[in-house]
């Protein structure tokens, strides 16, 4: 699983502009159609609307007629794309030339899974796309038509909106940097700032460049307008995130408030099974180790006066948090999957951000960076070991190295 084939091209100051007279989605799908017809790609992994329902599924498609129902940016995120790409490649690399179209948080999950050796990138062209957020799954399923309209509105405005999920409203990584040494994706689709008029296809790696070449698309359009808009939105959303996290932290801090957040948990473990970073074969909390004899339960009940069932729900969330917080990409899949509407992704996103800052680590942004816990730095956490001898790092500051 080498990442060397993704060595960064010098500087991609430009992108290929695709006219979007019939809407941005049509324009993007037009490019994919051509890529399949000319065999520049053997197949594309893309969300497709399931016939007869309003839901979306990931489809690995070769047949261009299926593209009609495909949507590179569906209003909801039914299944995390990074997880799908892992399922597709974990047990051996793909021998065909395949593109996967992922939202930025899905792309970053894919990169984390790559680092965890749960995913191969060989022969995969990763296409990321600017994302304005996704509508909460439950709201969408209840009122699909209304949700679709709200999503179109969000796509117009780009600065997040009450219509999208809470983690999306405060997401400042809704686009991916195109200037890094080890980028996350190979080709990025720039939408914001170009809405309606055109779509930008920005090559990030030689792989991305090759695809454009095969399609006779020249990367000769300036990115300035797009970049300016991204910066603008990022600023608004970062500020919103800072404020939200500040207030939210006050609401969940301390054992009592924290416990209250998860009070309604029915221990279904949906959050764990949809989480792309929860890649364990079997969750420890589903294993026999956590199951005790009735005698033990009785003893515990006696010691505490009473024993609430299901057991260890808080322990489950804390355990999961300690395992995946460093790699959490704030995709919100857990909250969409929660039948009890617990604000689980907001909690994990906040804790994840602070943990990641402590390690100066941004998950999924760089394919060649090793996982935070696998890198040993001698001067790391000196404020814990020898507080008198070092300057404490300010972990409350929202840093952005994107």
């Amino acid at each position: 699983m080498t990442a060397t084939e993704n060595i960064k091209i010098e500087k991609p100051p430009k992108g290929a502009s695709i006219p979007a007279k019939e809407g941005i989605k049509k324009a993007i799908l037009g490019v994919f159609k051509k890529a399949l017809e000319t065999e520049a790609l053997d197949a594309i992994m893309i969300p497709v609307k399931v016939p007869e329902t309003e839901s979306y599924a990931w489809v690995l498609l070769k047949d261009t007629t299926l593209l009609e129902n495909a949507d590179p940016l569906p209003p909801v995120m039914t299944i995390q794309g990074g997880k799908v790409l892992s399922d597709l490649t974990k047990h051996g690399k793909i021998n065909k030339n395949i593109a996967a179209v992922l939202r930025p948080c899905e792309t970053r999950a894919a990169v984390e899974l790559f680092k965890l050796k749960q995913l191969h990138f060989e022969n995969i062209t990763l296409i990321s796309i600017d994302c304005p957020g996704a509508i909460p799954l439950s709201e969408y399923l209840a009122e699909p038509e209304k949700s679709k309209k709200s999503f179109d509105n969000v796509l117009d405005k780009w600065d997040g909106d009450d219509a999208v999920r809470k983690v999306c409203q405060i997401c400042y990584r809704f686009s991916l940097p195109t200037l890094t040494n080890a980028p996350a994706s190979d080709l990025h689709i720039g939408l914001s700032g170009n809405t309606k008029d055109d779509v930008l296809l920005i090559p990030v790696t030689p792989k991305g460049e090759k695809i454009l070449e095969r399609l006779d698309l020249k990367a000769d359009s300036s990115l300035q307008k797009w970049e300016t808009k991204i910066k603008e939105i990022k600023k608004i959303k970062s500020q919103r995130r800072k404020k939200f996290n500040h207030d939210f932290k006050a609401n969940i801090s301390g054992p009592e408030k924290f416990t209250a957040v998860f009070d309604g948990c029915i221990n279904c473990h949906n959050c764990q099974s949809v989480c792309p970073i929860c890649y364990c074969q079997q969750c420890y909390f589903d294993s026999a180790t956590t199951k005790l004899s009735s005698e033990d339960y009785f003893r515990r009940a006696k010691e505490r006066g009473a024993l609430r069932f299901p057991l260890d729900t808080i322990l489950f969330h804390l355990g999961r948090m300690s395992h995946m917080a460093l790699s959490c990409v704030s995709c919100g899949a857990c909250e969409d999957a929660c039948p009890m509407s617990i604000s689980v992704s907001q909690v994990f996103s906040l804790v994840g951000e602070q943990t990641q800052q402590a390690f100066n680590y941004t998950p999924g942004i760089n394919r060649e960076e090793s996982l935070a816990l696998q890198d040993y730095l001698e001067d790391e956490f000196c404020e814990v070991e020898t507080p008198s001898e070092c300057e404490p790092t300010n972990s409350n500051e929202v840093k952005e190295n994107v």
Partner: protein, 561 residues
């Protein structure tokens, strides 16, 4: 089978009984689940105490044992032996330290007793979850592979070879002797002429228990203490391949020399009559000290510390052999003017100071200097330097002899990879502990000696070879089986996701990745049970015997209650 846990509290003379109310402790814990017996005794580690304990274990038919006494570092082994004698698996025993951690720490008797009760209860709860562990025995090969036929490798081979132990001595060049083959003479107090090295080579060649492979490279080594499998190829005889087994490996691959061309200021390769120390040794051997034009030099500069700054360490040997060169020059060419340019003098051994003083008496100049620059000016060598006073000075000479730093042998990285050995920041092999365990490595059964570990002189190399030999002789006893660590790590296949994090943290290199199954595998025969992999596994797929999560959980829970 129902459990019957025996709890024995040692009074430790009065060490524990003075500070802890043992009777109330016993009263408190005897009602705990599965506790069959709770007793106190004066001094459990005494012969009478051990006898009493062994008899009681049998009489009471105990299934588990908890002893509240001193630190396990002091007597855990003692009581494990008692368990064995009494027919109880020694891993069904837990020792609780209520002396150092309670009695000696807390002056208030009541508080100390409360803490001791908690700890004993933790021990009882933990021991109830213990499983019997059986020691296994492995056949062990007493033979040794020695890599490198220099003085260190020769000494190791001679120290180890014997009727019950064969030595395979592998040398990559066509002759034994290593770097000493290039020396004309040794230091006077080391015997001066090279006959001692020649004698040792002779002894190796005449020793029927040493098989020497010259012009041979080590291709592969894998295995572990007592069971290494080795393959070597002869570089001359059409790459003839040989395979054999050994129980231990001694790496004595020596050193290389810093290339003075890397620092152009020394003029090596540019300025005529600037030579390095080994080239001068060759000149001594030939008996002709001459310049390129065939005439003897009237003045010679000896330049110490060539590459010291660049490499970041002192090579320890150069000062003395530069003095040896100066004295040789004075003996052969009485009118020659000799100047030694040094940064710091390194004269660590007991006879060195005298050797240096004598050189001074012979009229050899010692110039403390820095920022040396050697130039060719009108066919003479000009040594420009900054004096100790900080003044820019210069000296014209006919010949300059450079003393280059000793650097790691070019084979070091390859050997390190083959044996999974760490290198330090200088590029030499890293000791298991520089001060406390200087010839051992993290890999049991693999030793590094001589200049492969860093610059040193012949006597120090010999000392290290003898040290490694001593360690091997005391562990690899012919006919004796090895008892590997019992408390090893174990990867549960159904939990392992194949992320290979454990491979990156295992200091002993005992975990491998099974590509077919997509999971990591621990070689339990060589696992040392350090637990690093257990802590690193994101999926909790690794458990370590005797330190399982349930055991630790119960123990901590009770200790904190």
């Amino acid at each position: 089978m129902s459990k019957k846990i025996g709890v024995y509290i040692c009074e430790c003379g009065t060490n524990i009984s003075d500070r802890i109310d043992i009777d109330s402790l016993i009263e408190e814990i005897s009602s705990l689940e599965d506790v069959g017996v709770a007793k106190k005794y004066g001094l459990l580690c005494s012969p009478a105490g051990k006898k009493y304990l062994a008899e009681d274990i049998k009489k009471e038919e105990l299934t588990h044992l908890v002893i509240g006494a001193c630190s396990p570092r002091e007597h855990e082994q003692t009581f494990m032996k008692v368990c064995l004698e009494a027919g109880l698996n020694p891993y069904l025993f837990q020792m609780v330290n209520i002396r150092e951690q309670c009695a000696w720490m807390i002056s208030d008797k009541e508080a100390a007793t409360r803490l001791a009760i908690k700890y004993i209860r933790a021990g009882i709860k933990r021991v109830a979850l213990h499983k019997s562990l059986e020691k296994i025995e492995l056949e062990s090969n007493p033979d040794v592979l020695v890599i490198g036929g220099g003085i260190a490798g020769i000494e190791a081979s001679l120290s180890l070879a014997g009727p019950e132990r064969k030595i395979y001595l592998v040398e990559k060049t066509d002759a034994l002797g290593g770097m000493t083959n290039k020396f004309a003479q040794l230091l006077p107090h080391q015997g001066a002429n090279l006959s001692i090295v020649k004698d040792k080579i002779e002894q190796v060649n005449n020793n029927e228990h040493i098989e020497v492979f010259t012009s041979t490279a080590v291709e592969d080594i894998h295995g572990f203490l007592g069971n290494f499998e080795i393959s070597v190829t002869n570089q001359e005889k059409d790459s003839e391949k040989k395979e054999f087994k050994a129980g231990a490996v001694v790496v004595a691959i020596g050193f290389g020399l810093y290339d003075p061309k890397e620092t152009p200021a020394f003029g090596y390769g540019d300025v005529e009559n600037v030579i390095n120390a080994l080239e001068f040794e060759t000149m001594i051997s030939s008996g002709k000290i001459v310049l390129k034009n065939g005439k003897p030099p009237a003045s010679v500069a000896l330049i110490h510390c060539v590459g010291r700054k660049e490499k970041g360490y002192c090579s320890k040997t150069c000062c003395l052999y530069s003095i040896k060169f100066a004295r040789y020059l004075k003996d052969k060419l009485p009118n020659v003017d000799v100047s030694e340019f040094y940064q710091d003098l390194c004269l660590p051994d007991k006879s060195d100071q005298n050797y240096f003083e004598e050189a001074k008496k012979k009229g050899i100049h010692f110039i403390q200097s820095d920022e040396i620059e050697i130039k060719d000016i009108n066919d003479r060598i000009k040594v420009k330097y900054k004096s100790a006073e900080g003044k820019k000075e210069e000296l014209s000479v006919d010949m300059a002899i450079l003393a280059p730093a000793m650097v790691p042998s070019q084979d070091t990285p390859k050997m390190a990879e083959m044996l999974n050995l760490p290198l330090d920041e200088t590029g030499f092999f890293k000791e298991a502990h520089e001060m406390l365990n200087p010839v051992a490595t993290p890999i049991e059964g693999v030793f590094v000696v001589g200049c492969a570990l860093g610059p040193k002189n012949i006597p120090d190399s010999i000392v290290q070879s003898q040290a490694a030999a001593g360690k091997i002789l005391s562990t690899l006893i012919p006919g004796k089986k090895l008892e590997p660590e019992v408390k090893t790590a174990e990867i549960r296949e159904e939990f392992c996701t194949g992320c290979q994090t454990c491979l990156s943290v295992c200091f002993y290199g005992v975990i491998s990745f099974d590509e077919h199954k997509g999971i990591s595998i621990v070689n339990e025969a060589i696992c040392r049970g350090c637990g690093s992999c257990v802590g690193s596994c994101p999926s909790g797929a690794i458990k370590i015997k005797h330190f399982t999560y349930p055991q630790l959980y119960r123990e901590v829970l009770e200790a904190l209650r």
